[in-house]
Symmetry: C3
């Protein structure tokens, strides 16, 4: 019976000349520490270091990359343990996954899953309806062992630093406990204020009240709200935070006057927020966040252009982050202009831009990053974190922006066990891309090797640092 | 003198490792039956089985893929037999085509034409001003023989099923005659109601009257109109139809209230239809068609994003479908939301999406298909049905949606003799793509082989079936 | 110590089969004369034939491709000799450039610069902080020699014809002096009326007054303005001009009535021009320019879709063309419709379309060029004039529009010494693309060779000729 196999040359270009060069380049980066500056792992996982539980709870149910594809084939999400009345037997969930293994052909999820099975857990059984139970046993045995606890894996993965994503309302208790254990610089928080800047979100009023309590600053008016956000940013900085993150539907950064901001804020607190006011305020707050970054040095990350929760009933039934977030066309050139006019050449600002709309790579993002000192291109995001997605990114941005206006790879995952697979894939694709440049005589091999290490390690360390 | 040559490895990747793998994969699909679920061949051609006539009338005059490129070089369409006062001598038309053969370098039309000449008709003369007459003779001789009649070719091509595209006003007489000959499941109709849902189209009023007569249902109000459409859909189902098809300028599916629909319909019958009302009604009808598909199980195909008849004078002079239909940017995420909110997870709906705007492949289409059970990605459409077009499709959608959320290849042609060439090209490109995945160790060879057969045969058979 | 090296196979595809074919194709075009139908070299440079000055003034300070990337790394533009109070020591500027050489990895600027250093100036020192002074000396020595004067290089480069870009207000004195020296057909003007058709531009009123003086026609009303433009076009034709050029923010070509045009023009002269009126007038003037091209045979070039001077303070400080021009999404299908309805099939019109928005290549540009006799696709523009940019152009337009609806390569540079490098790169990429078609059996080698020469020489000569 066939077994899973991680070929040493996987994801490297097949052309023999390029592959040989790519191997040489990849060998120099494969063991570099993992710098994970943007992700969604829960800090409590590393603060508490519990065992991971069963295979379905680790690899299937919480991973919308996996559940959405099986759902798209007509399988109810409930069969994967998602939603009210869902399947509760982890073995049954695992069997459903294994019997749909063919759906993952050609996807990065398959690359990551095989890496996790073989490299992280040391199992080689090909998932299928027939092998599901055996594989479940093998994985369960591994997960019970102490060397598969989160902190042990963190060490084994060679993670140097892992940034989590946190609400300004978070008390950062998990990070404090990590710091007490000497892990304070290894696991750091990221300031994500989205919930607080979208005034028409259900629960916003309660959240700004909590913000006031958490910061000890009265948030009953706009000025107090701004000051409370500044205060929470300082708390994140004190906890080791290096960056903020912003997920808006558009990239609009047009500020409004202070008077207008105060008026909109007061209206929202009084329950009178229009959609237009909410959108204007969200754009205004991106501008304000850039201003604050110029002051406190937090790197500003922007993730625009996704219509969240495309299907209302799915949101009600299954909650957010279940695969029903669908990208829309996004515009950066005009949307970012107010922010960049004001701060684009400010020496302290670093603005890292992400997109799931590839049409802006060569048209807008690379030209912006290729002239503004503050602008850096984030790694291919979400669906684009894939072999061809990573290749298209390099191919469409490098010629205009070079390598040194990019911000380095981010794994951007809540699936802790997939982190090394994701970095490994990015390093392989970059090695292949650089090897191609060498093979076409655009670059010398020693330059390719130096650039590979910069992309994998030096650039993210430099970009995500206190300026 | 050089001769046309169909190399066994044509359109397979040149890298020797990948080519060897691609050959192996292609060999397993090359002789599979052709499943042709969307096209524009006239059913009467197979019902009546007449000889094809002369080479110009078969290959040049009716094929806008061919005539538009020669026209773009400055040749009047009249010289190709198109329009009033056009050239009537097929030899002269043929000579004009042959002397412009170089214009087709790098185009899929050239691939198809060479395949037709060599493989279908067994002639190897390279088209040129010098060879035009000789080639004309050779082809004319073939076309006179009984084995080059439509039904004989249908058999020789290995077509298992061929879907035509038909108006709800069509009496399906040709299909009835085919059924009487035992061809009822081999040639099936497709329900295309565009003319009836665009209320501001010249002739619409007459057409809904005809719809009433054809269905025996009074279409003088909106409810009767809906019922008449339902009735015609049933007639298509009875005639073996498996799908509907919808060509709208946008993908908007926003429904209006019944009252509004009734009002707009009445206004249109009274000759008072505004452009805004017509657009709203067309969107509303896409929503209604999805509702009907949930009831009667017809697969729903959507082809949006083309500005038809860009040049008014060309339309007046030459009629539609002469190359003057030009794509525009299209949006799916928000446009389809109303339809998908209502029916996107309905077990009976299959919605196959086509585009000529490649920017939506990775941004919108693959994410939608990767989560909604009802959504399937149609094959690269029109201009994109080409070697690099097919490759970009696989490369940009597979990583997000996998292979099993696509609907299989459709040839989408009115050029009957080009059908096997088109399927052959798609199978070669898919073989090459899959071989590339094997060469990069993303897939095992046996999986690639299985997937190739699924793409070429099993998936379209499964998708286009009565649910 | 490593030296710069121009590999004979640079920028050719690495696959051995394709590379061998590509070499064969490239060899047939590498020595063809350079036809440079669109660029920004100053005619006075060739009329006066002065020595080039120092290396920094030749290669760094005026080249925004170079300065923007160094600025993006945080280096003030002043350090590169740009702006008030800038560094004036060319050696210091040169050192700053050399010590940031790594920023150009993967960019076409690096390809061009190495070509200039090695091939044009015969120096092989790799730029770095350590080698900067030595390299400066080597280049300075070359630049002092008579064989490095502009006209000598023009001859050595094998330039057959070089089009400059000129205001209608230009007296064409430099071109007259060139003509007097027998260079009148080697260096020709191009009519670029942008400044005169954007009524809200500061200085517009003064400019139309100058237009009146230059043409001897009263421009105090719209009819005189049109006539003055016609007159200047005739002067450009008399001076050997073959084309016009138009840089608009959108591609809108909607005409207004004569009455409206007269009203807007009068308002503008009276200082009462709204932004909407200015935009409408600019679109109207594109339509008028097409009408004039039908009369006088000047090829019409359109470069839309760039937001110029994204950063106001950078414009004030450094002037235009410093890297702060950022592309935006552009639409052609609807925007060009009025122009194409009126003139798209006119036998005298040739309309060459350029874009920095790649999403329109396959969606809009190739379908338009593939049917309208007047429409031709311009070479990849600006950021897209790069190895992968050129490849994506061929790959996305050829299958729909073929090769013969493109207009040939344009170098579009103000960096005179980079002209041969740019043509050489394009010829290499085209050779690689054509070789790929041969390797996949889409084209015979003799056809590939013929097509390569057409793309490099015959097509631009034919397109840019008096019709």
């Amino acid at each position: 019976m066939q077994q899973l196999h991680l070929d040493a040359d996987r994801a490297l270009p097949p052309d023999p000349t390029i592959r040989t060069l790519a191997r040489t380049v990849y060998e120099t980066t494969r063991s570099l520490p993992l710098v994970c500056m943007h992700g969604h792992v829960d800090a409590a996982l590393l603060a508490d270091d519990p065992p991971f539980g069963d295979p379905a709870r680790l690899l299937i149910t919480p991973d919308h990359y996996v559940t959405r594809l099986i759902h798209a084939a007509g399988v109810p999400l409930e069969a994967l343990g998602v939603g009210p009345g869902a399947e509760t037997d982890p073995r049954a969930i695992w069997r459903t996954f294994c019997s749909h293994w063919h759906l993952f052909r050609g996807t990065p999820s398959r690359f990551w899953l095989i890496h996790e099975l073989v490299e992280v857990f040391g199992v080689k059984t090909v998932p299928s309806a027939e092998t599901a139970d055996q594989l479940y046993e093998e994985l369960s045995e591994r997960l019970a062992a102490p060397e598969f606890r989160p902190r042990a894996l963190f060490d084994r993965f060679g993670i140097e630093v892992l940034a989590t994503t946190d609400s300004p309302l978070d008390d950062l208790d998990a990070h404090a406990r990590l710091a007490a254990d000497g892990w304070g610089t290894r696991v750091i928080p990221t300031f994500r204020p989205d919930a607080l800047v979208h005034l028409d979100r259900p629960g916003w009023t309660a959240d700004v009240t909590t913000l006031g309590r958490r910061s000890g600053i009265d948030t009953s008016d706009y000025d107090g709200y701004l000051e409370a956000l500044r205060s929470r940013r300082r708390a994140f900085v004190a906890a080791g935070g290096l960056a903020t993150d912003h997920g808006h539907q558009t990239a609009d950064t047009t500020p409004v006057s202070d008077a207008t901001a105060r008026r909109i804020y007061a209206d929202a607190l009084a329950g009178r927020c229009t959609a237009a006011d909410a959108a204007a305020f969200a754009a205004h707050m991106l501008f304000q966040m850039a201003a604050m970054s110029c002051d406190d040095g937090l790197v500003m990350q922007l993730h625009p252009g996704v219509l969240r929760n495309h299907h209302d009933e799915a949101l009600r039934r299954y909650g957010p982050d279940r695969g029903f977030d669908i990208p829309i066309a996004v515009e950066f050139t005009q949307a970012l202009r107010p922010l960049l006019q004001a701060f684009g050449r400010h020496p302290a600002l670093r603005l890292v831009l992400f997109t799931v709309d590839e049409s802006v790579y060569s048209r807008e993002l690379a030209p912006l990053a290729g002239v503004y000192p503050s602008v850096l291109l984030g790694a291919p995001w979400w669906f684009l974190d894939s072999p061809d997605g990573l290749r298209r990114f390099r191919s469409t941005v490098t010629e205009t922006a070079g390598f040194y206006n990019t911000a380095g790879f981010v794994d951007d995952t809540r699936a802790f066990a997939s982190i090394p697979a994701r970095h490994d894939l990015a390093r392989r694709i970059d090695a292949g891309y650089l090897a191609g440049l060498v093979a076409e005589h655009h670059l010398d091999l020693d330059e390719a090797i130096e650039t590979a290490a910069d992309l994998a390690y030096n650039i993210p360390k430099r970009v995500y640092s206190r300026s």
